[in-house]
Amino acid sequence: MITVHYFARLRELTGKGEESLDRAPMTVEELLNWAEETYPGFGKETIHVAVNEEYALKDDVIQAGDVCAFIPPVSGG
């Protein structure tokens, strides 16, 4: 299983803070595509993915047990 976290706008769009996916292994790009299909309006073009608390590249592979987070444009400070 892969754990995925949602924050900010995405938490409101999906109505949840996290969920589990039984799709490992998959690439970061495949995860973004899945999210866009599952949640219309997700906006994958502007969203980055963190895998195990580190920014990942689109062709990085996500393994079972990994913790992922969708990172929309940040606005701290």
């Binding site: 900010a8 963190a50 608390e53 920014y55 990942a56 929309p72 940040v74 701290g76 400070g77």
Partner: protein, 147 residues
């Protein structure tokens, strides 16, 4: 005490200033970022911040390490508050000590710019007639702590 943290309570500025003070420090710069009422003519009622807490604290620590590498001798402590914040509340504090003031000023400004680029924290502005999550990421953040 943690030098890099995300908290959901009011920020005690003195605590972070005290954390970086030591006998060899000749300067401490403390930056506090506050909730602003007016942005481009639009009145904000209050803000709500969300964060991916463990990753945000890790990224703050990475920024601190970048600062220590760029300005040898600086010590850093930073905190960002999440949850609902009122006008004038402190959202972020950055305390930097160094032997001489120039590095303390420069490193402090570097920190807030990096926070706005890479730390997973999000701000929602709540107005009289609506609300919106704000965000304007400039580029895909690079892997690791490279700037």
């Amino acid at each position: 005490m943690k030098r890099y943290e995300i908290i959901d309570q009011p920020i005690d500025v003195q605590k972070y200033s005290d954390l970086v003070l030591h006998p060899a420090a000749g300067a401490v710069t403390v930056f506090t970022g506050h909730v602003r009422e007016w942005t481009h003519g639009v009145r904000t009622l209050y803000l709500a911040y969300d964060a991916y807490v463990p990753m945000a604290e890790k990224k703050l620590a990475e920024i601190g390490a970048e600062m220590e590498a760029k300005w040898p001798g600086v010590q850093v402590a930073m905190a960002h508050r999440i949850g609902e914040l009122k006008i004038s509340d402190i959202a972020v504090v950055i305390a930097v000590s160094s032997p001489h003031r120039k590095a303390a000023y420069e490193a402090n400004e570097y920190a807030i710019e990096r926070i706005k680029e890479v730390v997973p924290i999000w701000k929602k502005e709540i107005w009289e007639d609506g609300e919106e999550w704000i965000g304007a990421q400039k580029k895909y953040p690079e892997k690791g702590s490279e700037s």
